[in-house]
Amino acid sequence: MQPKPDTALGGSGRGTALVARTWQRLGVLAALVLLVIAASFLSHRFLTVPNLLNVLRQVSIVGILAIGMTFVILARGIDLSVGSILGIAVVLFAGSMDSRGMIVSIPLGMAAAALAGLVNGVGVAYGGLPPFIMTLGMLSFARGLAFIYTGGTPIPINNENFYALGNGYLAGIPIPALILIAALIVSAFVLQLTPFGRSVYAIGSNEEAARLSGVPVKVYTTAVYVISGFLSGLAGLVYASQLSIGTPIAGQGYELDAIAAVVVGGTSLFGGKGSVAGTFLGTLIIGVLANILNLTGVDPFVQQLFKGALIVVAVFIMSRSKGS
């Protein structure tokens, strides 16, 4: 081990924090760039516009979930219920689309998703329940509601406009990818440039200090889960329209993919550190990896190994690089 200088003083410290911060962001970016370079060597089909757009479309659902998850994790929480909330939104979209049309159906599903998030938030912020437990309960509860609502059988959707939402293109870009990017931009703006966003970081960094500083900790903590619920509904919208069917098992296990994307993107599970930009890069890393494994014909069972190893290795590297 090398001797470490005392970082608390001394002129050499100028800008080191900045370097460390950019490394955290660039490290993830560098990993993505390396992966893309490697992928383009492994398959000549990788670096083509249709394939890249396909990757974007494929990651859009988990990408949107992961953005909501980033809010929650930044505030030092966790939301295990995003997959189930997506599920309940999906069956509500499917159940009401053909009878009432998009105008009613979409707000209905989104509102239900946000409401589930609100229940999570109130349980955590006002009920004092550990986020893990509260959202684990919601994971089961919301999934149960989805099964009850559908009676266990998928509901088909026959609406061409709605189908276009998940499968169409706008200016040559898949609409789901545009939705993801829009959610990303709005979220980045909220987190970086609003008092609420700042406060989310503060709550995750030291909740008690935030409270003493006058941050409305309970309200904002609740809001974070509502955002996560709402974005789960948005992801459900993409899901339902891509498949044009409302299955009650929609989104099962997605919470883990979303957490993986957040963590690979450099956001600390201990709160207060990270960004949605990082989460987006993390989503892309996982998406590109899956894509190249598909293109090179790797057994889907083996693909799981790669994904698991990626998560562990990424976090290991990150924990090393921010040591100083």
Binding site: M1, Q2, P3, K4, D6, T7, A8, L9, G11, G13, R14, G15, T16, A17, L18, R21, Q192, L193, T194, P195, R198, S199, Y201, A202, S205, N206, E208, A209, A210, R211, L212, S213, G214, V215, P216, S268, G272, K273
Partner: protein, 467 residues
């Protein structure tokens, strides 16, 4: 040396922590020698330091709160009986023995998390003794203790010294050096700035070497007290404070003295709306106020700087800038959007005004020294443009240079009309700064002393003795 207490003093950043980390095997030295029992040693890990009999007791104790005292003491080396099962009887007997030797009154089976900080410290010292430590390094052990407890700690140190243990004692409090140490070494900028037998020197000698310059002891100017800013009437919180009535006016400092647990911080928390079941009345600038939370307090112009920087103050992994502005983000927002340039400008001014020494405002606050962290937290309180400032132990864990700077800052704020309630266990501090001193005991006001009446004895008498 065995049987000797050697004190290490120096401002924050003078190199004390680095020295301790080298002794404890956490850092490796670039050069030089470490001689233990006449033998040059090099500790590549904390384990090696431990094996050589060097035990460091850090400011943040490293006990497992959910385990009992005896389990903590024998953690990782539980005595086993013939069946390979932990021999609780032996463990308890040995723990009792060590506790007796130290004069500790803790029961071996007590859960550590339920003990007071002072008792936990004793458990940690007992742990060191039980591993046959030859050299005990105490890193600012008194910073977390009130005066009675400090005296108990010193009595323990006296015993250890008599038993032939070598002790290194790190402290900010110069009086403590004279009370407990045989020798003292002053560090400044990572070098030895002086070393002497304590018997042969005085405080001025130490201070001169610590700061490398002279600082003037200056008496505060006569203050112009104006209208009452914060009036508290018959304020009570069951089990914490009862029937407290006091007024802080613009342009004055009211000191709140008392032992730890006397209800000083509890009073501040009640004013900030952080306690339930508060009875009594609070008036802010003559208007009755119902304060439900710190946010409401802030809107009335009341700001609070916590005594517990780490647990309640710092956003450790956020930047100095974000730490400074978190209490009043609205001030830097237009139409709900933060204006970063405006914020940066405020932080720049704050850094200059409070003389915060840092690499960059985007540096994480935890990389700053204690004194600079404290200045940023004061800056955070000032960002709400308060008219009443509640300062809770504002110079705890702060080096002597920064302390003076914080004093001048408080005095200049008061000169501009700020009303200050100063909670402090530092006698010199409270006597120097306060216009009046209110002494609390057991949650009640035990005495109110004017500047003329106030003295260390008068405060201690009121704080510690029944009327």
């Amino acid at each position: 040396m065995p049987g000797e207490v050697h004190a290490i003093v120096g401002e924050n950043g003078a190199g004390k922590s680095t020295l301790i980390k080298i002794l404890g095997g956490v850092y490796q030295p670039d050069g030089g020698q470490l001689v233990v029992d006449g033998e040059a040693r090099r500790f590549r890990s904390p384990r090696e330091a431990l094996a050589a009999g060097v035990v460091v007791i850090h400011q943040e104790l490293s006990l497992a709160p959910s385990l009992s005292a005896e389990e903590n003491i024998f953690l990782g080396r539980f005595p086993r009986n013939a069946f390979g099962v932990v021999d609780r009887g032996l463990m308890r007997a040995r723990t009792r023995q060590v506790f007796e030797q130290l004069g500790v009154t803790v029961a071996p089976q007590d859960t550590v998390g339920t003990l007071s900080i002072a008792q936990q410290q004793m458990v940690e010292i007992a742990k060191a003794i039980s591993v046959d430590a030859r050299i005990l390094v105490l890193d600012e052990p008194t910073a977390v203790l009130d005066e009675n407890r400090v005296e108990i700690l010193f009595m323990t140190i006296d015993r250890l010294r008599a038993n032939g243990l070598g002790l290194l004692f790190i402290s900010h409090h110069l009086e403590e050096i004279f009370r407990i140490a045989d020798k003292v070494t002053v560090l400044r900028d990572g070098r030895v700035a002086g070393s002497a037998n304590v018997a042969e020197i005085d405080q001025d000698w130490l201070v001169a070497r610590m700061i490398g310059r002279n600082f003037a002891h200056h008496e505060p100017h006569a203050r112009k007290v104006r209208q009452p800013a914060l009036s508290i009437r018959n304020l009570s919180v069951p089990g914490e404070i009862s029937d407290i009535t006091l007024t802080v006016s613009e342009g004055e400092i009211v000191g709140l003295a008392g032992l730890v647990g006397a209800g000083r911080t509890e009073l501040a928390r009640a004013v900030l709306g952080l306690s339930r079941h508060v009875s009594g009345a609070i008036e802010v600038f003559g208007r009755p106020a119902r304060i439900r939370n710190p946010n409401a307090a802030a809107r009335l112009g009341i700001a609070y700087v916590t005594e517990d920087r780490k647990a309640q103050g710092l956003l450790p992994n956020r930047s100095v800038r974000e730490n400074a502005t978190i209490a009043n983000l609205r001030r830097f927002a237009r139409a709900g959007v933060l204006r970063l340039a405006m914020e940066a400008c405020y932080v720049r001014d704050m850094v200059r005004r409070l003389d915060v020494r840092l690499a960059s405002p985007s540096a994480e606050i935890r990389t700053l020294s204690g004194g600079n962290q404290q200045k940023v937290l004061i800056g955070r309180a000032l960002a709400i443009e308060p008219r009443v400032l509640l300062l809770d132990e504002p110079t705890r864990g702060v080096d002597i240079g920064a302390k003076q700077e914080i004093y001048s800052l408080i005095e200049s704020l008061v000169a501009e009309g700020m009303a200050v309630m100063l909670i402090s266990s530092d006698m010199e501090e409270i006597l120097r700064l306060s216009d009046r001193i209110v002494v609390l005991r057991g949650g009640r006001i035990a005495a109110t002393l004017s500047r003329a009446e106030a003295s260390e004895t008068a405060i201690m008498r009121a704080a510690a003795l029944a009327a």
